[in-house]
Amino acid sequence: MTAPSAVTVERVSPPGLDELRPLWEALLVRHAEVWAVLPQRPAGETWERRRRQYEGWLADEDSFVLLARRDGRAVGYILVGIGEGDETYATGERMAEIHTLVVAAGERDARVGGLLFDAAMDELGRLGVDDLLVGHMDGNEAARRFYERRGFTPFVHVLYARRPGAGSVEEAG
């Protein structure tokens, strides 16, 4: 039996974002499994829109993307945005938000997520950012357990509705 090769973590700059696309699209499959209130956009359209969001967040020089590789193959990434502190809660002047943490389907039991998370925390420590937010879809129990094991607690629940009188979700798009 051959020991699994090591996973390495590296920083990705905006011109390299397209390498993240297959992992992003794998995450969409997971999203659709746990939250089916609205239909998803086509995968290609979704990536174009998401990449523009990523570029916007990465315009802050402290925001970052870390990519995990095994044998040169991308197996997961974490994107952390840094922005101003919260108006309501007692955060510092700057706070961080994990916008995406995704691991390839075949790697989810291989601690890749923990490796990426720990590397991101090291980077936030270097930046001196003490407050971190992360959202996960309702029903994604694996994500909830992942963050609770790391000392995180839910403090805001986001609800969604299509405004009364608007078309049904089947008519959307």
Partner: protein, 193 residues
Amino acid sequence: MADHLHIAPLDPADIELVGPLWKQLMDHIAALPDAAVPVRPSDESWELERAEMLTELAGEGFALVASKGGRPVGYAFVCIEGPDPVWYTGDKHALLATLCVDEEERGDGVGSALMDAVDAELERRGVEDVEIGVDTGNKVAAHLYTSRGYRPDFQIFYGSPGRMPWACLRREAEDQAAGRGRFAPPGPDAELA
């Protein structure tokens, strides 16, 4: 429906009208039974919130104020954002950032009347999709929204990178030890606030 309730758009020049209501909301959130993350002192929080509101109101955001006899008794603040990258929202979607009712007026239909007015304004603008953030433990607010058809979407978690206790709890403990912020002794004008 509350009697004699008048709902009108907030003129940004009159933004201080809603400051006391925002501060009440902060005190309400701070006292929620499952509140795990401390809130800022209400004066400090209003400084940040006012700046955020003015930025949004200068764009596509709007705020509606409910008044009785000329006295503001509640308000709703709505931000308008672009299409969601994943889900089939419209080209714009709304975020109900604040819904606040004076503590003496709660339970009298002011919140529902404001929600009806928000829906009417969004219909006028052709915005169909709405998201609302509810603080954990605010069961009255959650009930209001779910009774109007809102469904769970996602949870936001708070934590501190590699450090316990959380940074926000450390800050709160420092304020408490120094007697500042939320823990400052009442000043001479406290009764007028």
